[in-house]
Amino acid sequence: MATIVEFKDYSMGFKDDDGVVFNLLDQVSFKVEEGRALGIVGESGCGKSMTSLSMMRLLPPSAVVQGGEILFQGRNLLQMSDAEMEKVRGKDISMIFQEPMTALNPVLTIGFQIGEALKIHEPSITKEEQQKRVVEVLAEVGISNPETRLNQYPHEFSGGMRQRVMIAMAVINHPILLIADEPTTALDVTIQAQILDIMKKLKGTGGLVVVTHNLGIVADICEEVVVMYAGRAVERGTLKAIFDHPLHPYTQGLMASIPTTKSEKKPLHTIPGTVPTVFDFKEGCRFADRCERCTEECRKKRPPLKKVGDDHLVQCFLPFEGEEIVHE
């Protein structure tokens, strides 16, 4: 299996008006294999959106890359020139953005906006060919009457239909890596089921990265999981490893605090406190203040990365059975 994208100890942060850099992502490492889907989960402010924007090289101006590599098919995305990056972005790597209401241009037709993505990467394409491909891709994402709908404007589409348009725009160039940032957050559950159904059909050709706060979505479409907390990848591994045997206290707490269709009517498990902001990050474990099993050591040093079993990595001081320290 070929590796499509690999993060190697990637760190980034934000600089404030005085030029002081606050670290957000701290030595994040993971990889996406061909034909597999990776879920990046975490709460708001944990850096999951910054991780996906880093792959697209679309970080806001105040962001600073502090180190590490993002290898896309062996090439370091961080060292590419802007011209090279423009060839990759939207062609080999493309992204489905969070809010279809704001991501679409209200004064241009759907057909134009989807066709534009094609035209930029294939300038010699004829008008007829372009139209044909747009109709094909709209049909692929489940929009009925694509020939008439392509002359309509975004306001004529419902939320679920707009999200389909976003997906169509992202997949028209058959990307090798598709990133979906909270693809269904603004949608109703019944529409969410429709969209996830489409994404499952599209998956399998290349790599898929799904960024979400919803563990249910990850369980539904992903094979690998990275759990992020306050800019660190605290736990990663296969879906089965993480969901059936969560090791990190944060992952365990998160799983236990979700009401399911079978939960009893007793108080839910809670993680005390709230997620720290980028200005409050400390040297030691960033979860220490909210952790039930926190020790002196946790507050002083960053926790080591440990390998537990074949496909399961965790960043924690707690002892685990059969652990192997990968790096301090």
Partner: protein, 329 residues
Amino acid sequence: MSKEPILKVSHLNKFFKVKKRKLIEEKKYVHAVEDVSFELYEGETLGIVGESGSGKSTLARTILGLIPSSGGTVEYKGQNITDFKVSNSKMLRSELQMIFQDPYASLNPKMKVGSAIAEPMLINGQAKNKEEARQKVKELLQMIGLQPEVYDRYPHEFSGGQRQRIGIARALAVNPKILFCDESVSALDVSVQAQILNLFNDLKEKLHLTYVFIGHDLAVIRYISDRIMVMYLGKVMEIAPYDEIFDENTHPYTQSLISAILEPTTEPNAERIILEGDIPSPVNPPKGCRFCQRCFKAQPKCFEEEPELIPVSADHQIRCHFAKVGENK
């Protein structure tokens, strides 16, 4: 649970006029809430679920008189309070309170949170002067899990979960009996959502509250509610006790909502029912059953004739031609 309902809603309607575009045009209405009847008993939590556009929030707003109703009645403790056109409306309003969805938008950014909570107390006479109000607000802040020292801070200094706690404190400031929670945990992170859900349950016990809990996440609604009301296009499709909603004998719409729940487990999911299309326009609702166009069980009869709410057991009603009467436990 007492037998006398604390709140009784009968045949409540809310239509919004659609603006005419031509001189000669038939008057059109958005059927936001149509013929909704239910009873709420003291000490229970009634969950309301449905997709966006099903009229959940409009129903709550119409009951509370925030928007005028177009027909039907609302009775609170036996008194007709429809649209709050009654002499003791001020007292009644304080007994029925609402917690809004967006804690960011529902707090005045220029007002200290303490003053925001104290204001309704002073207006409604729960506190006689500012000193007393200050004291009461501090007690309230402690009860909902915040430090009393936050009295003098502004909303932007709080996180989402803390702001939602402040929203709850403000609703509790006037000693309400019934709380309407409109998507009160939807905007929160998972770990914070659990904290707030636990807080709702604690407060219910401590203050003997009755809740109407509106949401779209059926797993959350099932957890918090005693009974669940499912709405679709302004109509009640089903009312059932929380432990019967996952049974076989439920409305097809409820079944599809349940099948759309994504559980965070690695167990294989049951075959998912994927509904076609979107919720239709409430301006011209379908002629027969409201759900007929998207229903996977639809028969020709469903397109012609609208089903009634059929009682299938003591507190379980289903609006479907194919509901089986008397088969529930």
